[in-house]
Symmetry: C2
């Protein structure tokens, strides 16, 4: 669907395909009653959930475990004023199942920072929305 | 300051210098009691506030005018597992002063999308934090 204001809404499958193309996204949550955001590298599980790796005792885990967060990734080309963004909104949960943790040690993301006591956090891919900016903006 | 977990906290001036190098950031706010995030192009005012341009009747304006939001920008190099991110947390307000609106028509951002009834939104730069990932993560 092309919107009159210059962007196209993306379907779920297209969103997931695009998410798989970038290494870094941003966890969006609330911390001390203020909006907060933290970039992280991630992988995408086949069911469309986002998986990231962080320290068990991190501020992020304390803030997001068990609550609904948003996860955003995008890629824009400034010269063409075009690009895309995708937002996954879902419940974040520390992976506590040993077999699942073991699987993610093999297939999941590796933190870009050295971690003590690393855990995986899964953001359920219940709601996935995206849009593509088609480069039709005012170029004046 | 180098943290043991592989990142360096950035000072306010360094944060603002980095913000000035990228065209797109992300407004982080709450919509219908859920965390929400929207990428936008922006400019930086000399006082460190972030200015963006959108439609007066947009969902974004309805959600953020008069409330505290976060604004995030970053730049990462996946191959080197390094990069930076900056977050400005402050009150978002539609610019209502005619002289200020006029000034921003000349010096402020231009929307990448065609707008009807465009307005400028300023995010006060009261709290500016940033960190640089120094590429010392686990490369295994």
């Amino acid at each position: 669907m092309i919107h009159s204001d210059g962007f196209r809404a993306l379907g779920r499958e297209e969103c997931l395909r695009l998410l798989g193309k970038v290494p870094v996204g941003r966890v969006v949550y609330t911390r001390h009653a203020l909006p907060a955001v933290l970039p992280v590298n991630f992988t995408l599980d086949p069911d469309g959930s986002v998986v990231l790796c962080t320290s068990a005792d991190s501020d992020l885990v304390r803030a997001v475990d068990g609550v609904v967060v948003a996860f955003e990734a995008d890629d824009f080309q400034a010269g063409r004023r075009s690009g895309w963004s995708v937002v996954v909104t879902g419940r974040a949960e520390v992976v506590s199942d040993p077999a699942e943790h073991e699987r993610l040690l093999r297939t999941g993301p590796r933190s870009w920072m050295p971690l003590r006591d690393g855990v995986f956090v899964r953001i359920g891919g219940g709601m996935v929305t995206g849009r593509e900016l088609t480069g039709t903006g005012d170029r004046s």
